[in-house]
């Protein structure tokens, strides 16, 4: 498996990242090196092995449905780049709305 420069542009777009030309070139090569390294895993026969999403699978881990105090609003908004003491403020999401 390998990625093209176009794939990298797509992934960058999804992550809202902007790269220069030579960076895109560089990342494409580096990603392909990583993928080639990971290819080694394909040498193993995994035909009859269930996919694993966690390395430890114990029993269920639950919370009971009990409300506990939340943050006060001042603290909740504290790290926001923009707020008005009530809401988080972000650039207009729907242009013209």
């Amino acid at each position: 498996m390998s990625v093209t420069r176009k794939d990298v542009e797509h992934i960058a777009e999804l992550a809202r990242l902007k790269f220069k030309d030579e960076e895109l070139q560089n990342f494409t090569e580096q990603l392909n090196e990583i993928l080639a390294y990971m290819e080694q895993l394909n040498e193993l026969d995994t035909e009859n092995i269930e996919p694993l999403s966690h390395t430890i699978e114990g029993g269920n881990v639950f919370r009971q449905d009990v409300v506990k105090p939340s943050l006060d609003r001042e603290h909740a908004l504290k790290n926001a780049p923009d707020e008005d003491d009530v809401f988080f403020k972000v650039p207009k999401v729907i242009p013209g709305a």
Partner: protein, 484 residues
């Protein structure tokens, strides 16, 4: 021309679960609180925090799965659905993708012509809700994250519906089931029940599916019907003009009665699902499943069938009475004090529902207690009052919480059943209108109604209608004999 096509509709329904706390943290799920007060580092998506699953969310999801004949998967896993939107602070929604909680279910709907249809349920999975963006203030968008992390189930149907009306009845059925299970309040206007529709059209007889579009933002039952009709017509129009359907997402605009393309970039649909590393798989073994199954209440279709079988009600009545659990409860309270099941059904489906709709009141606040309504029916049946008088008493009962008999006595409305007394009134009326008597005798049956009206007027509506009817016929006929 349109007849050669058929619509193919599948619905994705989101139901907000009625837990006290959120799905992965202990913040309150309360609706309508001040903005951004039910938030904590977990639902705000701060770095380094870990979600912990609310046990009740699993129980509610399994309840819904059992109520819709789903297979309850012994093991299910959470996944990250990645996308950027300001009301989703983590940059991903924790949902389920592969291995959802429930699969392969079915919901039966009843159409207006009483035919039944089974709609397949593809899957039911657990996920978290996003926050709320408020777009209408100034130059920026305001974000309230109280709703962020409120538990949802998503119920995905098979593309088994063919018309907007089938979609309407399917959605009504879901609302009914979640309300019976008491796991969601089912309020579409407030957004606790939401619906997206996948729609395509094809020529009748064709078995392959056409290209589908998805419509979002239909926030009422009526809008779901309208939007689906709109989209089916739009697609047929395009095909008839030789065009192709483009797979896209549309937003319903209820004011304009139109759907608009979101015109989002292709990227928007690349969610890159992968297993959520912060949450363990959920195991629902047979023992736990049985425990949850023991909590299942009587389901709507079971109650409907019981109403038909035990109370001898027509299917139509049973369907309407069981539409809402609390109305069915009210009906059952009424018939615990009267054995006239059909009259009770008529009163509840008729007068009671009418007042509820007109006055926009819920049955739990209905001014007439089930007991009093039952007694109203009883005093009609024991001939204390006529049905006509009952209709006059009903509004009085609405106004003040009084027993119907008290109103009857207070207003002196007790029915006259004394044949002698009624006979005197009839004789009087007949003697006052000899011409009309002639008319009747010469075959004008219509005049009979005129006499009934006059007699009722004389007795202020209190005469027993059946006695008046029988006695009047008897008396006119004997007049006839005399004249002959």
């Amino acid at each position: 021309m349109i007849d050669k096509y058929e619509g193919v509709i599948g619905l994705e329904v989101h139901a907000q679960l009625l837990t006290d706390s959120k799905i992965f943290c202990s913040c309150s799920t309360k609706f309508g609180n001040e903005p951004n007060i039910n938030v904590c580092p977990i639902c705000l998506g701060h770095p380094g925090v870990l979600p912990v699953l609310n046990k009740k969310v699993v129980e509610f999801t399994v309840l819904m799965g059992l109520a819709t004949d789903c297979t309850i998967n012994e093991r299910s896993i959470f996944a990250r659905k990645n996308y950027f939107y300001p009301d989703l602070p983590k940059g991903y929604q924790i949902s389920q993708y592969e291995e959802p909680a429930c699969e392969f279910g079915v919901i039966e709907i009843t159409l207006p012509d009483s035919t039944k249809k089974k709609i397949g349920i593809t899957r039911i999975h657990m996920e978290e809700d996003a926050g709320k963006s408020i777009h209408d203030s100034g130059y920026s968008t305001s974000v309230d994250l109280n709703r962020c992390g409120v538990p949802l189930i998503e119920i995905v149907s098979e593309p088994d519906m063919r018309t907007s009306s089938e979609a309407y009845f399917y959605l009504s059925r879901i609302k009914q089931i979640v309300q019976y299970l008491d796991i969601c309040d089912g309020n579409m206007e407030e957004g606790s029940l939401r619906c997206d529709a996948n729609i395509s059209v094809r020529l009748r007889g064709e078995t392959r599916l056409g290209t589908k579009t998805e419509i979002k933002n239909m926030n009422s039952f009526r809008n779901v019907e309208r939007a689906i009709n709109y989209e089916i017509e739009r697609q047929i129009d395009i095909l008839e003009n030789g065009g192709n359907i483009i797979q896209e997402t549309l937003l319903w605009d209820a004011d304009k009665n139109k759907a608009f393309s979101m015109r989002s970039k292709e990227e928007a649909h690349d969610y890159r699902y992968f297993p959520e590393p912060d949450l363990f798989p959920v195991f629902v073994d047979k023992e736990w499943k049985d425990e949850i199954a023991a909590l299942l209440p009587e389901l709507p279709f079971q109650r409907r069938n019981r109403f038909i079988d035990s109370f001898n009600l027509p299917e139509y009545d049973a369907e309407i009475l069981t539409q809402y659990k609390d109305i069915a409860d009210y009906y059952e309270k009424v018939i615990s004090s009267t054995n006239d099941y059909k009259s009770a059904s008529n009163w509840v489906m008729g007068a009671v529902l009418k007042v509820m709709n007109e006055e926009k009141i819920e049955i739990k606040n209905f001014p007439i207690s089930a007991n009093h309504l039952a007694d109203l029916i009883n005093i009609i049946n024991n001939k204390t009052i006529s049905g006509k008088i009952a209709k006059e008493i009903f509004p009085e009962m609405l106004k003040e919480n009084k027993h119907p008999l008290d109103i009857v006595k207070l207003k002196n409305l007790v029915q006259i059943t004394d044949t002698t007394a009624i006979g005197i009134v009839i004789d009087n009326v007949l003697s006052k209108f000899p011409n009309e008597v002639e008319e009747f005798l010469s075959g004008k049956e219509k005049v009979f109604g005129f006499f009934i009206g006059k007699i009722m007027q004389e007795t202020k509506g209190k005469a027993n209608p059946k006695i008046v009817n029988d006695l009047l016929r008897e008396k006119i006929s004997s007049t006839k004999r005399i004249m002959e």
